[in-house]
């Protein structure tokens, strides 16, 4: 994996020193909160409902065991012994105290990590396919490009005060696991007619209060054009983007108001100016970065042990069927560790669990760990013969739940249990849905299902692209939950459609159960997933299940 250069190391250390002094000046009163706030946000420090929250970037979701152990150490030393993995491949600590934050940042710098640009109107953590470098369906590992973008965008002087935050996602595979169509810029690796790899560039996707699917502005961008082209997009956005209204400031609105053709024309014009200024240094850097992402030395060994175990042990089989994905090396598998035990908080790992995952990565996983936007942890390279041992260790640590991709593998934002922006809770809704379907023992019967829950309209829980989306709102001082159906975050991306009136807090789980039972009653065969059934049937049978036949008119 990528190791910091002396420049990176110096930059991050300098920022820690700078912020240490800023905290001192805040604590002695030389800085007011109004002065300090933008400085702390630049370093990922928020003030939430009950405490401060520190958001740490996990670039393109990649972690080493050493880094994971340091996150566990931070959780034990300065927080409450756990961390929360987010939908943007970050980790959040929910209980740091302001005077301790410089020490935390210093501990992060010790393992080449930081919290820079995890907030503010800048280019945020560049996210990537969590199976990158391992997936069987991949054209190329996208992470060298993500790292190049990270280096280019970090502290980029032109893009520190954008009209609004800016999120870039990248995937190297045709199956989109990085929700690229719902990002400000989505980059999908494709091949041109000559077989060369490049990028399909999507601009103007996003969720939040105005959900939109990104538009393709370039069908094929050659690899050497990546930085100048992305810079051209940012540059046009920086000029055109609205600063008068924060709700209309994202690039999706710029694109919507200006028109895709005009924006594309301006981007190409700016690109023509910028391209000659990139003299090849970026490509030399890219070559160095690529070397850091060379595949591990895969072991060549028999896999019969796995096959025998798979046949013999039904618990292992259930886990293998849900948690494993095809690896580019057929002796290997990609393991998704469910951080979604029924009834637990989605995406929360204790420090002990972090250490177990670090140990497993070191012992069985070529020292590689990933965080997915679906709030799970991935061991991308595990030899199949080691899977029984990995499974046994995960089960002991409470990490062996066989529910990846099923109804209890729910994305949930922190919601009003932590977040100052939230309008309702998300976490307990997720906990109760998971427990209910465990009790019914239905989730394997239901099959692939993505429920995504946001506690406010900003949609950190990606509810718009959930097969079932749940949005928590404050309706006249009471929590109320709006349900959407048919959303999809993959290469067939779609924004879910609103059903009728929302549901009270204690009515959400029964409503979800009615939807699921309607699906089971209507599906053609078990192979027709919930999403396919919604597409075939439309919303009416589901509205009838939710509201009874009289309630099908849309009152939202």
């Amino acid at each position: 994996m990528y190791s910091y250069s002396d420049f990176d190391e110096g930059f991050v250390r300098a920022r820690v020193a700078q912020f240490t002094q800023q905290v001192e000046r805040r604590l002695d009163g030389s800085l007011s909160e109004d002065e300090f706030r933008p400085l702390r946000l630049m370093n990922g420090l928020y003030l939430q409902l009950h405490a401060y929250m520190l958001r740490v970037a996990i670039p393109y979701g990649t972690l080493s065991p050493h880094q994971m152990r340091q996150l566990a150490y931070i959780a034990d030393t300065w927080d409450k012994g756990y961390g929360h993995f987010t939908t943007r491949q970050n980790i959040q600590f929910n209980w740091p105290k302001l005077p301790d934050v410089p020490a935390i940042l210093s501990a992060l710098a010790d393992v080449e990590m930081h919290a820079i640009q995890t907030s503010g109107n800048t280019v945020r953590n560049v996210t990537a396919d969590h199976f990158a470098g391992a997936a069987a369906d991949e054209i190329e590992d996208p992470r060298p490009y993500a790292e190049l973008l990270r280096q280019w965008s970090t502290d980029h002087p032109e893009f520190q005060f954008l009209p609004r935050k800016f999120k870039i996602a990248i995937t190297g595979a045709p199956h989109d696991r990085a929700v690229t169509r719902a990002h400000d810029i989505g980059l999908r690796m494709v091949r041109n007619a000559a077989g060369e790899p490049g990028f399909e560039v999507l601009v103007g996707g996003g969720l939040g209060r105005t959900p939109m699917i990104g538009h393709v502005v370039r069908d094929f961008l050659p690899v050497p054009d990546l930085l100048p082209y992305v810079e051209a997009v940012l540059s046009v956005y920086n000029t055109l983007g609205r600063r008068d209204n924060k709700y209309k400031a994202r690039i999706k609105i710029t694109l919507h108001e200006t028109g895709k053709e005009e924006v594309t024309r301006m981007v190409e014009e700016r690109f023509a100016e910028l391209r000659p200024l990139f003299g090849g240094a970026d490509q030399a850097l890219l070559a160095d970065i690529r070397a850091a992402f060379a595949p591990p030395a895969f072991r060549n060994a028999p896999t019969d042990g796995f096959d025998a175990f798979y046949k013999a042990d039904p618990v292992f089989r259930a886990w293998a069927d849900t948690s494993l994905a095809a690896h580019r090396n057929d002796q290997y598998a990609i393991v998704t560790i469910s951080v979604k035990a029924h009834g637990d908080t989605p995406g929360d790992a204790t420090s002990d669990q972090m250490r177990v995952m670090a140990d497993l990565a070191e012992r069985y996983g070529h020292s590689d760990l990933r965080i997915s936007h679906e709030q799970n942890v991935i061991l991308p390279h595990v030899h199949k013969s080691d899977l029984p041992a990995v499974h046994a260790a995960l089960v002991q640590a409470g990490l062996g739940t066989a529910n990846v991709g099923l109804i209890s593998d729910i994305i949930a934002c922190p919601g009003m249990d932590y977040c100052a922006l939230a309008t309702a809770r998300s976490i307990p809704v997720a906990q109760e849905i998971a427990l209910r379907f465990k009790e019914l023992d239905l989730e394997h019967e239901v099959g692939p299902m993505k429920i995504k829950i946001s506690g406010c309209i900003n949609a950190c829980g990606h509810h718009h692209v959930g097969h079932i989306g749940i949005l928590g709102l404050d309706r006249a001082g009471v929590e109320n939950y709006q349900i959407t159906l048919g959303g999809d975050g993959s290469e067939t991306a779609a924004i879910g459609e609103k059903m009728g009136p929302g549901f009270a807090y204690d009515q959400v789980v029964p409503a979800i159960e009615r939807l699921v039972r309607a699906y089971l009653a209507h599906r053609l065969e078990p192979g027709e997933t919930f999403l396919l059934a919604v597409r075939r049937l439309g919303l009416d049978p589901f509205k009838a299940a939710l509201y009874g036949t009289e309630g099908t008119q849309d009152a939202a």
Binding site: H50, A51, K97, D348, G477
Partner: protein
């Protein structure tokens, strides 16, 4: 006194710890909502808010939150403020743990 004024308390987060606190009538910052001063006059509320906001070495983000009188002192009227008196619902953390009797 305005007849339409909803009673309020002043709440904020401690600068160092981030903990939720409430301004009392005797100018302390208490962790307990029921110890807050219940403000029933708008002009008085604004003066108290100015007083609170000036304490920049102690608290951050002071604001007026709706409240009502209760048998043991002011009570929150909105669920967000009720959560702030306790802590999160997924773990026994925050005030519900720190001040458990």
């Amino acid at each position: 006194m305005s007849r339409s004024f909803t009673p309020k308390v002043i709440t904020a987060n401690r600068l160092r710890e981030g903990d939720v606190v409430y301004l009392t009538a005797d100018d302390r910052w208490s962790p307990f909502h029921h110890e807050a001063e219940l403000i029933e006059d708008e002009a008085h509320g604004q003066l108290r808010l100015l007083h609170a906001a000036a304490q920049k070495l102690l608290v951050v983000g002071a604001y007026l939150a709706d409240a009502k009188a209760g048998p043991n002192g002011p009570e929150p009227t909105h669920f967000r403020e009720a959560f702030r008196t306790r802590g999160p619902s997924n773990y026994h953390h925050g005030k519900q743990a720190d001040y458990a009797s």
